[in-house]
């Protein structure tokens, strides 16, 4: 089949990008801190036998993975696959702290760091702070330093763009380093199953298979027109990715997308009065965080978790920015709460998040309509 190019492919291979992906991050931390987990299948998730079957797997160690357990799988399913698995409640405070420690290490090499999650980041080392000049050397050093300081392993992928760097780190997992250069792209992607391409998810896979696209070699045969016809903007992107073009920068200055505050209660909240009181406190803490960062937002999200771990979130978006004051946050959070919550079920967690944020470099002056309020 002949491919018809609508827009030219321009490959810029001048950048040096490393994708660092921690190996089974949460599970590895738990095994490090509790060595007896090392020899057993470990699943980091709330135990479905205690939550009434709710919850999903955040990570599983490599032993549990041999049973077919993987992240994002319902915890109940993991239990079926591996009845002897140990379920460990996730401790995000701890994981965040380790993640910060690892970021400190990245900063010794470059400040162009784009965090994707606690356990994953892109580094642009086109210019590195230590003047090493060689991405492979930097990747090896980072792996070594991370291991020395945290006893955790990671996989790194190196290439000239983000898509390929991520592909390479997945290929090198665990504890590996892989590099993809411009001339290797076609050969490397040829045998990669289509579902391994970033962004090709549950919905896209069957459509791809129907079109006869099972791996990279099939994808590269698709015309740009067809890809755009079937997959829209993502088709345009895929057409470039499979040819080794991805110009997305490492977004190290990326704006914070949201600011949120939440609280967990050991003793469940069961009365409207308790809930209102806590909601007001959260609104107050949120306001402090928002003001500190000089932001304002157009969306308020309420998060609520019941005693049985069922978690609900709902949002309200306005055309104008929410006024940054406790009353406004509280009012809208309460409005959502009244709509979705059944307080009698017992509430374990409450959170308010302000999102759709913009720097507050302007502020509308308010008329002093209500005394004490402004």
């Amino acid at each position: 089949m002949e491919t018809e190019v609508l827009t030219p492919i321009n490959i810029d291979d001048s950048r040096k990008i490393i994708h660092v992906d921690m190996d089974a991050f949460y599970a590895s931390i738990e095994m490090r801190d509790n060595p007896k987990f090392k020899t057993q299948p470990l699943v980091v998730a709330h135990d479905p036998r205690l939550t009434g079957g709710h919850g999903v797997v955040t990570t599983a160690n490599y032993i549990a993975r041999q049973f077919g357990v993987h992240s994002a799988m319902p915890a109940m399913k993991a239990l079926e696959l591996c009845p002897e698995a140990i379920f460990k409640d996730p401790d995000f405070t701890k994981y965040r702290a380790v993640s910060e420690q690892i970021h400190q290490i990245f900063h010794e090499y470059t400040d162009k760091i784009e965090p994707v999650a606690f356990d994953e980041a892109y580094l642009d080392v086109s210019e590195d702070k230590k003047g090493l000049g060689d991405a492979v050397l930097i990747a090896h050093e980072i792996q070594k330093v991370i291991f020395n300081e945290t006893q955790l392993t990671c996989s790194t992928g190196i290439s000239y763009n983000k898509f390929l760097a991520k592909m390479a780190s997945e290929y090198s997992k665990p504890v590996g380093v892989a590099i993809i250069e411009k001339d290797d792209v076609a050969e490397f992607l040829k045998n990669i199953p289509i579902e391994r391409f970033r962004g090709v998810g549950k919905k896209t896979v069957p459509k791809m298979h129907e079109l006869g696209v099972f791996q990279g070699a099939d994808l590269i045969k698709m015309s740009e027109n067809d890809l755009i016809h079937y997959f829209g903007k993502f088709g345009y992107t895929l057409f470039r990715w499979v040819r080794g073009q991805d110009d997305r920068p490492v977004e190290y200055l990326r704006e914070r997308k949201s600011i949120g505050k939440e609280e967990t209660y050991g003793k469940l909240l069961t009365t409207e009065m308790e809930v209102e009181e806590r909601l007001r406190v959260i609104a107050k803490n949120l306001l402090r965080a928002v003001l500190k960062r000089q932001k304002h937002g157009k969306t308020i999200v309420l998060k609520l978790r019941y005693g049985d771990f069922e978690t609900l979130t709902k949002r309200i978006t306005l055309d104008e920015f929410f006024q940054n004051d406790v009353e406004t946050y509280y009012f809208y959070a309460k409005q959502i709460l009244d709509e979705i919550a059944d307080i009698s079920r017992g509430i374990r967690l409450l959170g308010i998040t302000l999102t759709n944020l913009t720097d507050q470099n302007f502020q509308e002056v308010s008329l002093p309509l209500f005394k004490h309020s402004e």
Partner: protein
């Protein structure tokens, strides 16, 4: 119940009542339209928790060709029923309610049978037994609503600000609305003075619906007020609105008495400039424009800077500028709404300082109509 009626008259009345009917309501029967046939008239009623509308068609109405064969009442799902009536083939329609509220609608060769509901379960409309009846010119009142409703707040966090505050004393009726970033106030003279002063807050949304019903054919409307309802009556229609409870803030103290810079211009001229400037401010992240006044050169410049898209600058055509130089930033949408409310007229804009509210009044009538806008503080 059984009657025949001219479909076009019926549709006109149906459209009016449907303004009060919402398909999203917590009370299922309120998604319905109540039809009541009496000896000599047909009554259509629709209601939601905020407004209720009742309208009457008399057998004396020649255009309606109303012929009531038997009396009775039924409630029919409004949207559904409305769609049917609008698509019937003939100009005459016959409606008959049989046992179990099954309703037959016949027109030309078409016959629909739909399920109705017991009209006894339809809520009773509020009783308004007021001593005072205020008579208003329909066109003037409609204008008053449209001039002030723009400043009503959409944010439910301050419910009272979602309404227009009316005060009536002697023969003066004043309306004020504010969302705390702008304020709009209009005063009109009543044809007849009233004895007891009144002070009410009516939801802006109710008034907007009301103003849409006030067409050129309606000359006067009357207003009666009870403890928690306002009742507007015109032609054969009753329009009820819930009143908002609470004390409206004292807004008179917010209107500046003095100014240090004044600018005069034709409303459409400035409106066009602002509309151009806001093209960029809307595309950017910050919806702000700046007005720079150079009094000595009698020059006013509107500018907008949206780093992501670009910037704009233009000199405004003004009739006069007096006072001190000034640089002030504001939300252009507020000024657009205010200018539109004036129509084709000459406006005087008065400022005190960059962070104080500024006002707009028609040059011809500086007492009875004022729009106030608060500026934006830029960092």
């Amino acid at each position: 119940m059984k009657f025949t009626i001219a479909r076009n008259t019926f549709i006109k009345k149906l459209n009016a009542v449907q303004r009060a009917i919402s398909s999203k309501t917590t009370i299922p029967i309120l998604t319905g339209l109540k039809i009541e046939a009496e000896e000599d008239r047909l009554i259509l009623t629709g209601s939601n928790t905020d407004i209720s509308i009742e309208t009457t068609i008399s057998t004396n109405d020649e255009e309606a060709h109303l012929n009531i064969e038997s009396t009775g009442a039924v409630v029919l799902t409004a949207r559904f029923f409305g769609d049917i009536v609008k698509k019937l083939p003939d100009n005459t329609m016959l409606l008959e309610v049989k046992d179990g509220f099954q309703t037959t609608i016949t027109s030309g060769a078409s016959e629909f049978k739909i399920n109705g509901l017991d009209a006894n379960n339809f809520p009773h409309l509020p009783e308004v037994d007021s001593q005072t009846t205020i008579t208003l010119k329909a066109d003037v009142f409609s204008e008053m609503i449209n001039e002030t409703v723009i400043a009503v707040s959409n944010q439910e966090s301050r419910p009272i600000l979602t309404g227009i505050h009316f005060t009536i004393e002697g023969n003066k009726l004043s309306a004020v609305a504010t969302d705390s970033h702008r304020l709009s106030q209009r005063v009109i003279n009543l044809p007849e003075p009233i004895k007891m002063p009144e002070d009410i807050i009516i939801p802006g949304k109710s008034l907007l619906e009301l103003s849409r019903m006030l067409d050129d054919e309606i000359d006067t409307i009357t207003l009666q007020i009870s403890e928690n309802q306002a009742l507007f009556t015109f032609d054969e229609t009753l329009f009820y609105s819930r009143l908002l409870e609470g004390l409206y803030p004292d807004t008179s103290r917010l209107i500046p008495k003095e100014s240090s810079t004044e600018m005069e211009f034709e409303a459409p001229e400035l409106l066009a400039s602002i509309e151009r400037a806001s093209l960029l401010s809307h595309a950017g992240r910050n919806n702000v424009v700046k007005l720079t006044i150079n009094a000595a050169n009698k020059q006013a410049i509107i500018s907008g800077d949206s780093p992501e898209v670009g910037n704009v600058e233009e000199e405004v055509v003004t009739k006069d500028i007096v006072g001190e130089d000034l640089e002030i930033s504001f939300n252009p949408d507020y000024l657009k709404d205010a200018l539109r409310s004036f129509g084709h007229t000459s406006i005087k804009m008065a400022f005190t300082s960059a962070l104080r509210p500024f006002t707009l009044v028609p040059t011809e009538d500086q007492e009875n109509f004022i729009q106030l806008i608060t500026p934006v503080r830029t960092f």
